[in-house]
């Protein structure tokens, strides 16, 4: 797992087109990743303005923007974003904390591994959205339903990657530290945890993706507020611009979460040559 992780960490930097990247980033650093989205939006706008794309199916970016402006003024958009964000974070915190705790415990102790791991492996194979009907029966369309589904979805990627990260810490390093009389606490703090971090971050970023996915679906099915609800509600009234707006907002929130995780990853894994500045 760790090897794969590091492989992933190494690859993208090397694979980026170096000449284009360098030529552009020399002049406008930070703008390169936005080129493709900008082109897509420009084409989309052009297509809509020329009447090639029907507004009933896909309104122009300008209309989506206008809808966004309108709903921001009315307070509807910020409120729904805040609600969705809060749901995402609380689900993530509950699921992530449990997963991290069990991942560490099972990575460090064969006893708790024997006790819980096979159960987790069984439950893991249930797609979390398959639980939606049951969860609605249990919680109705309360906050509990969203919290449960998000926490459930976030749990497994973090659990598995934490577990494998801890298990795959180089045993030679552990032996070295022990041979210098490093006790369990410092062994964990200085060797095991930093060694497991690259793998934990893979789980974290994967979990963030699942977090949004689960939230979108549960908000469209069982909610009376939030971005997903806003989109479903708009669909009933054929307000396509708001539906598209909701999708764009999800994309931006997802990107934000991923950027935050990357930033944290870079800061924490500065020792790893894969994260050194080019």
């Amino acid at each position: 797992m760790t090897d794969i992780t590091q492989g992933i960490a190494y690859l993208p930097r090397k694979l980026r087109l170096p000449s284009i990247h360098m030529a552009l980033s020399a002049r406008i650093p930070g703008l390169v990743p936005w080129i493709v989205p900008a082109i897509i939006i420009a084409l989309w706008q052009a297509g809509a303005s020329l009447g090639l794309i029907k507004a009933e199916f896909l309104p122009a970016p300008s209309e989506v923007l206008a809808a966004g402006y309108r709903l921001t003024l009315s307070g509807e958009l910020p409120e729904n974003i805040a609600i969705s964000f809060k749901r995402a974070i609380s689900g993530f915190l509950v699921g992530g904390t449990l997963a991290f705790g069990f991942g560490l415990a099972n990575g460090l102790s064969r006893t708790t591994e024997k006790l819980t791991d096979s159960t987790f492996q069984m439950v893991r194979n249930i797609p979390n959205l398959a639980l939606v009907p049951l969860v609605i029966l249990w919680f109705g369309i309360d906050e509990g339903a969203k919290l449960f589904l998000t926490a459930f979805g976030v749990f497994f990627p973090i659990y598995i990657n934490t577990f494998h990260g801890v298990r795959n810490v180089d045993p030679q390093l552990i032996e070295m530290a022990r041979s210098y009389g490093i006790g369990p606490f410092n062994l964990f703090r200085k060797v095991v945890l930093p060694g497991a971090l690259p793998s934990i971050f893979v789980g974290l970023r994967y979990a963030l993706g699942i977090m949004w996915l689960t939230l979108i679906v549960s908000e469209t099915i069982a909610a009376t507020s939030g971005i997903g609800y806003m989109a479903m509600h708009a669909r009933e009234f054929m307000l396509v611009d708001i539906v598209v707006l909701a999708i764009v907002v999800y994309a931006l929130l997802g990107k934000l979460a991923d950027s935050a995780a990357r930033w944290l990853e870079r800061r924490t894994l500065a020792w790893n040559p894969a994260y050194h500045k080019i």
Binding site: Q172, A177, S179, Y180, G181, G183, R189, L197, W271
Partner: protein, 274 residues
């Protein structure tokens, strides 16, 4: 991890290298330690890798261990350091033949085994174990890094070092622990010839300076003769040659006496091979 980095952060700028004169006195460390091994046996899946091995090493002695690959040299060092336990036999330390204490034996492994996520200084400070407070750890690490000629690299990551430099950091780490006995398992095996000779010089200086008991596994007969007071050959799980090297230090390779000893040891090794 973050607090850990912060703890040592800035250390390189505030105190790049503390000259021995101003540094706190080194904490008391165990003096060179003698040890004796009686009837040491280690069995792996029914095969006696070590078979009733006896060896007696004086305090401060430098002993080189040679022997063909797989004869049990590493196993012997691991048993001595308590990283593994013997099937039978006794390992006794000190003049009174007591059991091993935690800090008696330190091992310098064939691989540097540096923590890639800790700065070079913090890697060296690992050698101080859990106990000392941050201040002492830093000073000790700086001293030891200075001793191996890497005083100015304290704040860098290990990944930027060359193979020989990594081994020097590993040596500094072992020195910080103030070992009574330092067991070195082919520490220079992966180095090129020139770096190797430099490292041999460094090892000898450090050993003369600190006075620990040194036990070094090597495949290089000239290296054994250049450094050791005794060359010990392990064959069939026991000591079959124990040769005292009385050449004055610093030793010069290529003198007739040196060449004669080298021939003697090689002949003894070959005798078995044919």
């Amino acid at each position: 991890m973050l607090t850990f980095a912060a703890e040592i952060g800035g250390f390189g700028h505030e105190a790049p290298f503390i000259p021995p004169a101003i540094a706190e006195p080194e904490p008391e460390r165990p003096a060179a330690l003698e040890f004796a091994v009686y009837g040491l046996t280690k069995t792996f899946s029914g095969r006696n890798v070590l078979d009733s091995l006896d060896l007696d090493v004086r305090a401060g002695e430098f002993v080189a261990i040679i022997g063909r690959s797989g004869c049990g040299k590493s196993t012997f060092l691991r048993l001595l350091a308590g990283l593994d336990s013997p099937t039978s036999g006794i390992v006794a330390f000190g003049p009174e033949g007591r059991e091993r204490h935690g800090s008696d034996v330190r091992v310098m492994f064939q691989e540097p085994r540096l923590l890639p996520w800790a700065s070079i200084a913090e890697n060296v400070a690992i050698g101080a174990g859990d106990r000392p407070e941050p201040e002492t750890r830093r000073n000790q690490a700086a001293l030891a890094l200075g001793a191996v000629g890497l005083g100015d690299r304290a704040e860098e990551w290990p990944s930027v070092l060359s193979g020989g430099q990594k081994q020097r950091v590993a040596l500094a780490r072992a020195l910080v622990s103030g070992p009574g006995i330092l067991a070195l398992d082919e520490p220079l095996g992966a180095l090129d010839a020139l770096t190797r000779i430099e490292m041999q010089g460094l090892l000898e200086r450090v050993w003369l300076d600190k006075g620990f008991t040194a036990l070094m596994v090597t495949h290089d007969v000239p290296e054994a003769i250049a450094l050791a007071d005794r060359v010990v050959l392990i064959e069939d799980g026991r000591v079959t040659l124990d040769l005292r090297i009385d050449l004055p230090r610093p030793r010069k390779r290529g003198t007739p006496e040196f060449a004669e000893l080298e021939r003697e040891v090689l002949a003894r090794l070959m005798q078995r091979a044919s």
